[in-house]
Amino acid sequence: MINLKKLDENVNINVISKKQNLNNNCNNIDNEEEEKRVIKSFTISKKNIKKLDKYINENKGLGKLTRSDIINFLIEKYL
């Protein structure tokens, strides 16, 4: 059975404002420097940076990654 109270208590609202600030401040991510800046601002582990690298590389060929692509990916992984 899912413990709703526990799930509710583990929610950290500050994460959202952090991500929204980031999104408001960055334009389309179309170069490596911008990617690095976004990744750095999330303070994530080396293992997960590898996952993000993989995600970016896999999607690069399909066209320009937008900021919402990156943000969505980060939110899915880290929220």
């Binding site: 059975m1 899912i2 509710d8 583990n10 609202i13 929204q20 408001n24 919402s68 943000i71 939110i75």
Partner: protein, 203 residues
């Protein structure tokens, strides 16, 4: 403007925000216009908005929709001030979710977030992809959300596969075709009930 604004949102991806937005828009097109930020659903007459500047440049088109219809905003791709703006401006926020841990957690986060924005819009939680085995958790979730977040309106969709199929099907034609009618009857019925529920909340 006689139209109302319906924002469809949740911080959990893949719970049916775009699907629900598009199904309502497509099958009740007399009632709704649609704004999307993603380009995953390509169709005529859907207004695509990328960011605030884009939004400002399309204000006249948005007003024109609102003169005649309600406007559904699929906030799927927005994680910024524009999303917050839509939530604040909306008359109703439709919040789809699945009844799994992560989806419920993100929904709580989303509801907390709306509280921090002081969003006073009505809220409708749509429990998507429901199956009978989830009855206990559904009841518990509804009670918990009522008690802790003051949400009073819930709707259950339990025919997910059919919804995906019905996207490209004209429900008026389903009525005329016996085989299709059986296949999609439940999906169409639920969609109509959801539309009625939304209309009721917008009154």
């Amino acid at each position: 403007m006689k139209g109302k604004i319906i924002a469809v949102g949740n911080f959990k991806g893949g719970v049916g925000k775009s699907l629900i937005s598009y199904l309502l828009y497509k099958h009740f097109s007399d009632s709704y216009g649609l704004i999307q930020s993603d380009l995953d659903v390509i169709s005529d007459n859907i207004l695509h908005i990328a960011d605030f500047d884009d939004f400002k440049s399309k204000k006249d088109e948005i007003r024109e929709i609102l003169n005649n219809k309600n406007l559904i905003i699929d906030t799927g791709g927005f994680y910024d001030d524009l999303q917050n703006y839509f939530f604040k401006k909306s008359n109703l926020i439709v919040i789809p979710l699945f009844l799994d841990n992560l989806s419920i957690k993100r929904t709580f986060l989303f509801l907390k977030f709306l509280n921090t924005l002081n969003v006073n819009s009505k809220k409708l939680i749509v429990i998507n992809k429901y199956n009978k085995e989830q009855e206990d958790i559904k009841t518990e979730f509804i009670n918990y959300t009522k008690e802790n977040y003051g949400i009073t309106d819930f709707f259950t969709l339990n025919n997910y596969k059919s919804f995906e199929k019905v996207i490209n099907t004209d429900i008026n034609l389903i009525e005329q075709n016996k085989k299709n009618k059986i296949l999609y009857k439940n999906a169409v019925l639920q969609l109509q009930q959801l539309n009625n529920k939304i209309k009721g909340l917008l009154k």
